[in-house]
């Protein structure tokens, strides 16, 4: 007796169920492969130092050492690094929201000679790798006495916040109905008043996407903090972890494997949470800049 007669299905439905099953099996297998390393990360952070490496591998630590977390947090100057990271995130974010949206508004709504040519220049600067301007910028900041401060990372973002974000905000402004801000203009609102009171309040989704990208970018950044921040009291979390890996001065001992896994897990949690809860803005931002670009 065939399955199809048991469940009273025609052949079309049988083949459909078969392919659905294959689809979900492939997806589940793929997802398991992608998530396995993350499980391994968290499990490694809860193991005793001696149990990190065993054959066969154990995914569930015995015993589960929750105290690895407070121990690691106390052993290293975690809170100082967190404060340094947040200083940079907020410093960059405020500058970028204000200047990128102002510049983007001018490109999207105001007419002036040379506007299109200048916007093409904005777009083309996206192709310049950071490393080409890095060395002169480094020397300029050295002469300004800004090395080992967050300023070299924050200040350049107060000048339009980067071509990518100008482009993103402009795309969003172009999608707004211009009748409302034309009405505001007729009612005697100046150009910048219109921007501040009419355009920006409508732009919270775009500002949200910009904030998420900025948070993730600065939180995860490794190269610029590595170049500019040299003492442990000034480092962001991402570079501090790397220093702790080798730190053998009198204050601390070098990190153990479970401690490195603890720090990596802690470093991973905020971006993952932001992604989970603000996915809508995030996805919108990716799509606006990628598909319509």
């Amino acid at each position: 007796m065939q399955l199809s007669t048991v469940f009273d299905l025609n052949s079309h439905q049988v083949s459909r169920i078969f392919w659905r099953t294959v689809l979900y099996c492939v997806l589940a297998l793929g997802l398991a492969t992608f998530l396995l390393p993350m499980v391994w990360l968290v499990s490694g952070s809860l193991k005793p130092d001696g149990q990190v490496f065993t054959i066969p591998p154990t995914f569930i630590p015995r015993p589960v050492l929750w105290e690895n977390y407070p121990t690691a947090l106390n052993k290293f100057p975690f809170w100082v690094s967190l404060k340094n990271t947040m200083t940079i995130v907020i410093g960059v974010l405020v500058g970028r929201v204000l200047t990128a949206s102002l510049v983007a508004y001018s490109f999207a709504r105001l007419r002036f000679p040379g506007r299109n040519a200048m916007f093409v220049i904005v777009l083309s600067t996206m192709m310049i790798p950071y490393h080409v301007v890095l060395i002169p910028q480094y020397l300029i900041f050295r002469d300004l006495g800004w090395l080992d401060t967050p300023l070299p990372i924050i200040v350049p973002n107060w000048f339009g916040g980067g071509a990518f974000f100008i482009f993103m905000m402009r795309q969003f402004f172009l999608s707004l109905n211009s009748e409302i801000d034309e009405a505001a203009r007729i009612d005697g609102c100046g150009f910048f008043g219109t921007f501040w009171r009419v355009i920006l309040p409508q732009s919270l989704p775009a500002v949200g996407a910009l904030s998420i990208f900025t948070f993730m970018g600065e939180w995860n950044d490794f190269f610029a903090p590595l170049i500019y921040l040299n003492t442990e009291e000034k480092m962001t979390l991402a570079v501090a972890i790397r220093t702790w890996q080798f730190d053998t001065n009198l204050t601390y001992q070098a990190a153990t494997w479970p401690e490195l896994m603890v720090m990596s897990t802690i470093l991973t949690i905020p971006p993952v949470l932001v992604f989970f809860f603000l996915q809508r803005y995030f996805i919108q931002g990716v799509v606006v800049t990628g598909v319509k670009g």
């Binding site: 689809l23 992608f34 998530l35 490496f53 220049i121 490393h131 301007v133 590595l226 991973t268 990716v286």
Partner: protein
């Protein structure tokens, strides 16, 4: 108030300055509006690029003033510097393998999810997740997964009976492939874009293809691929640009070793500039990097013109 009215009155009577006209005021506001970008472009963009071009022609040990040496740095790169050639080779091989594979894996996943899979947003979140994990955490995680003998990879291999599994990051043969695996772990990063563009393909086109007798494969090849080709091209170019700037994973896990088998280009640039303090040479390396990325982008754009379909052309 009265004086203001009089002033406007006289101004109208005479010829208006350009900034007093409606158009002029808008233009002025426009220039003020973009001035942060324009200033930044000059201070952090054009200025440093010109300086960098100048430094690339000098010997500059950062502690003393730059000394002009003409094209010496470039001559050294292309004729004598074996590590420069090695860095180009490592980065090139990595890009050739990971960029197409990353696009295929990401696009493949998007195709599967686009088969009206239930709980689409949950799947999407899961596959995208590795792409939001910070590079530093990813590096330590994979150092732990591929640790010699006792890492996850090796202990799984030994459990299933493979004796003497490779010492991944410790071997000149396996270190680069291990970093490629690390890169592919983030391949879900393209998922959001691919899904959005797949969902944007008009169903009418599929209906038309069915009427013309196209099977699933024909529909995929003649409708899906052409309609989503601009996004594939975009992610491909971004993939090239990013793979030429790989730094964090190699710096943390291997520091370029063993025996320079993972000496990525930017890692070499960092070594020259910040460890050996040869800023002039590092500036030269940065310019070569810029030229490579620029040339590759143009090349991909040119060759793709025949394959990529843009709506409304």
């Amino acid at each position: 108030m009265a004086t203001a009215a009089t002033a406007t009155g006289t101004a109208t009577a005479q010829k208006l300055h350009w900034w007093q006209t409606l158009k002029g005021r808008e233009a002025l506001a426009g220039y003020i509006g973009i001035s942060p970008w324009l200033l930044g472009f000059l201070m952090w963009g054009v200025g440093p690029m010109l300086l960098s071009a100048y430094y690339s022609l000098t010997e500059y040990s950062i502690l003393s003033d730059p000394v002009f040496r003409g094209l010496d740095n470039f001559e050294r790169m292309f004729t004598r510097d074996k590590l420069f050639a090695q860095a180009l080779r490592v980065t090139g091989v990595y890009a050739i393998v990971t960029v197409p594979l990353g696009v295929i894996v990401g696009y493949g996943l998007a195709l599967l999810l686009n088969q009206k899979a239930r709980g689409l947003s949950y799947w999407r979140t899961g596959f995208y997740l590795p792409a939001v994990v910070p590079g530093v955490a990813t590096a330590y995680l994979f150092a732990y997964v591929f640790a010699n003998e006792y890492g996850l990879a090796d202990s799984v291999l030994q459990t299933i009976g493979i004796e003497d599994p490779p010492n991944w990051f410790g071997s000149t043969k396996w270190a680069l492939p291990s970093l490629m695996v690390l890169s592919l772990w983030g391949a879900g990063g393209g998922l959001i874009l691919y899904l959005a563009s797949l969902q944007g393909v008009p169903t009418a086109l599929y209906d038309a293809a069915k009427v013309d007798g196209a099977n699933a494969w024909g529909q995929f090849w003649n409708v899906t691929i052409p309609m989503t080709s601009p996004v594939i091209l975009f992610t491909f170019i971004m993939g090239i640009i990013n793979s030429f700037q790989v730094f964090t994973s190699a710096f943390i896990i291997t520091s370029g070793g063993p025996v320079n088998s993972t000496l990525f280009y930017v890692l070499y640039l960092y070594r020259k500039g910040w460890q050996q303090l040869e800023m002039g040479y590092a500036a030269g390396l940065a310019w070569i990097l810029f030229i490579i990325i620029f040339a590759l982008t143009i090349l991909v754009l040119r060759t793709s013109a025949r394959f990529v379909h843009y709506e409304g052309e």
